[in-house]
Amino acid sequence: MKHRLGRLMAGFILFMLILAIQGQCAGEVSGTVLKIGSPSVVKSASLLGDSSLGVFSHLSNPTLMKMAENGSIVGLTADRAEVSKDGMIWKFFIRDNFYWSDGEKLTPDDVMFTFNYLADKSPSAGWIKKTVENISVDGNAVVFKLNKPYSRLNLEFATYTILPRHIWEKIDKPLEYVNNGEVVGFGPYYISKIDTDAGVIYFKKNPYWKGSSPYFDSIEIHTFSNMDVLSMALEKGEVDAFYKYAGSYPYTSIQKLKDTGNFDFIEKDNIGLTFLAMNLKKEPMSDLEFRKALSYALNYSEILNLDALGYGQVPNAGFVPPSMMDFKETRKLQYNLSKARELLSEAGYKDSNGDGILDGKDGKAIKLTFLTRTDYQRPTELVIGYLKDLGINAEIKSVDSSTWIKQKDAYEYDMTITRSTPWGMLMHANWGTGYFDSTRTGEGVLHNVDDPAFLKLCDGILAATSQSELKEYAYQVQDYYAANLPGIALYWSRIVTPYNKVFTGWYSDPLYGIYNVDSFLEVRKA
């Protein structure tokens, strides 16, 4: 019996070894492939339903517009866009030389269909229904007639992929529509297969692509639910580059990659940022002097060093990072504990009983509730420490995201740390206003500012029709932030994207990073 057992085990181990060796041989694949590793896992092969797949599909189904390196919006599928003087009519001129991967030509009709379709069927595009009165085709242009001026329309259209009418008009519930096989697209590549079990999206060259020919026969997006494994895969050369929408390669793992000498990095300033938000409806956060003092109490460089390992810079009081359009240089935030204390005592916050804890205006010791989610534990820990140095006690209330949203919406907190994505900074009236405007609602939105001056600014931006007008408003918004501090940026981070040195020609745009059509047309093996 024991011998039999031994043999059984030996056989088991042998089988394993054979498999291991066999697997290594099978790893070699012919043809030129570019493999990109991403932590954004595609959970269902639903082009409109899955947000990760939505981003990845930008390669096969490019957007109407795109964001240029300087933050301005330029044409992609559309050659250019025109807006009428009153800002009510937008015209997008569609390029002539795009063909779907099944041979059909891309027409303005496809574009019109796409936005009508989305307005109808996608809840996240519900604003189209509210804003756009009608869409029509005028020669090679698609005309959007709005019911009120909307200056950000071209920006919005830098995020929606264009769908082939002849395929999608038959699909009634696009969110539930799952397609694991080919997805018809008109980009340089089209999706040939979505394999959620293997975690790979396969792209193939679009045979009808008329532009400059890309260098690779196929592109594979390998998704990893585990960041460490992705790092290992990069290091081992199993994937060639890293991509995460609005996210950087983990700062802690960069050095390791650098040490291998095989990688280069694209570093870009992030539009999104991590910030401290305050409940302005409650004492003492409603007191501007208190907020000002607080802004001096935070050790920004330490937060930057610990949370982002120094990949970024100490922010300005103006909140908006310099990578955004129409950035205005405002007061640099600085750590000055004595000044913070001074400001507090000037404002009347004193430690009357000498226990080291400051009293509020009501004479009672200040005790703040710091709402936090698991993702922000580290910065929260730090901020709590700074508050303590200042003589303010804060109690961590660690909650899951759902509770966070509920409590934030009910204003049941004193402070919290959250972050914005690039799109988050751009949405609504741009420059981060979407997070503070009290008239808005939504998941990550704090809606804590109901100052009429601020709300008026937002409305102004939305109705602005010229670039110079926008710039004027942008400066005003940033000045407002700097003066009123509704939120304090903790750091402006950089997005670091590593890629294997073997591949060159990457191009990164501010909105979607290296994942854009231009980039994939240029990347080649050195």
Binding site: M1, K2, L5, M9, F12, M16, L19, A20, Q22, G23, Q24, A26, G27, V41, K43, S44, S46, G49, D50, P123, S124, G126, L175, E176, V178, T196, D197, A198, G199, V200, H222, F224, S225, N226, V229, M232, A233, K236, E238, D400, S401, S402, T403, I405, K406, E443
Partner: protein, 314 residues
């Protein structure tokens, strides 16, 4: 009532309880039951929210909701995931096969090797080799499964490069799938072996003190003969039920292993829905896992009565 019938009744009751629990939890938790039922990532406008509310029957009295809930469960409708844009039951169906592919070989290997090695260890308590075995499996037993898988992944896949880093397959051929699954299966087998090992060892320690074992020795059986001719089967009896009950625990271990090895099975499904608070998926998965565990228990009972004549006799 015969024990078998009693057992069946209890299984049904357990099922009933779990289904009811699934009904109660989202409705009794603080907050909007709609959010609790749909998960918070569901993009909803006010209009569609109230529409959904009536669609899901949340405006009905509780008992009617409960009945409707049962009706949908019985038609295998576990709800809809607004997060993954798919019906929960089809999601689970597509994920379950991978989990089973991981769990079934591991659990079988765990049962076979665990009981044999554990039996030998219990039999030869104190002998050098068995001490090493026991210490080894005890250490595994004491290590959380996710930690074990992390170490294995780091060592075998990354440092030694023997196995792929993630996923279920790359080409999809049988050997390729096996190659991808080998390490997770190995880790999970180790985990399962260690649990069965400890139980079996204890069980054999009890059995070897029994009179029939002594009598077998007096009959002239030598060394391991007594174990394999006599004690093994008897020691296995309590194990069968324990393995079945342990199934839930080991299955949970599979969840952690899937998370670490990025396998698209139930574990990752549960973990993802946990992170995104996709409650319909969370509940549906929990329901299915429970059903599987209960089925395993029933199966164990059947097996038990096949082996133990005393049960049949009653």
């Amino acid at each position: 009532m015969s024990p078998a019938k009693k057992r069946l009744l209890r299984c049904i009751l357990a099922l009933f309880l779990i289904v009811s629990l699934n009904f109660i939890i989202p409705r009794s938790m603080p907050g909007d039951p709609l959010t609790n039922l749909l998960g918070e990532d569901a993009y909803l406008t006010e209009g569609s929210a109230s529409e959904l509310r009536s669609l899901m029957g949340l405006d009905l009295p509780l008992h009617e909701q409960y009945l409707a809930y049962w009706r949908s469960i019985l038609s295998f409708d576990l709800g809809y995931s607004y997060h993954l844009h798919s019906s929960v039951s089809s999601l689970i169906l597509s994920r379950m096969k991978w989990t089973l592919l991981l769990a079934v070989p591991s659990l079988s290997a765990g049962a076979i090797f665990g009981t044999i090695l554990g039996g030998l260890a219990g039999w030869k308590r104190g002998c050098g080799m068995e001490r090493v075995n026991t210490a080894f499996f005890l250490m595994i037993y004491c290590t959380p499964p996710y930690f074990l898988s992390l170490l294995a992944l780091y060592l075998f896949s990354f440092r030694l490069g023997l196995f792929p880093l993630k996923g279920l397959y790359s080409t999809g051929s049988f050997l390729d799938i096996a190659h991808h699954l080998m390490l997770p299966i190995l880790v999970m087998s180790l985990f399962s072996v260690s649990r069965n090992f400890m139980i079996m060892r204890g069980s054999v320690l009890v059995e070897r003190r029994s009179l029939y074992a002594a009598y077998a020795r007096a009959k002239g059986l030598y060394g391991n003969e007594i174990l394999f001719r006599h004690c093994f089967k008897n020691a296995l009896l309590p194990i069968i039920t324990i393995i079945a009950l342990d199934f839930g625990f080991i299955f949970s271990g599979a969840l952690f292993i899937e998370i670490v090895f990025s396998m698209n099975g139930m574990g990752n499904l549960i973990y993802d829905s946990l992170l995104s608070r996709d409650y319909p998926v969370l509940q549906g998965s929990f329901l299915i896992v429970t059903i599987m565990v209960i089925l395993a228990n029933l199966l164990a009972d059947l097996q038990y009565s096949r082996i133990d004549p005393r049960v049949r006799w009653q």
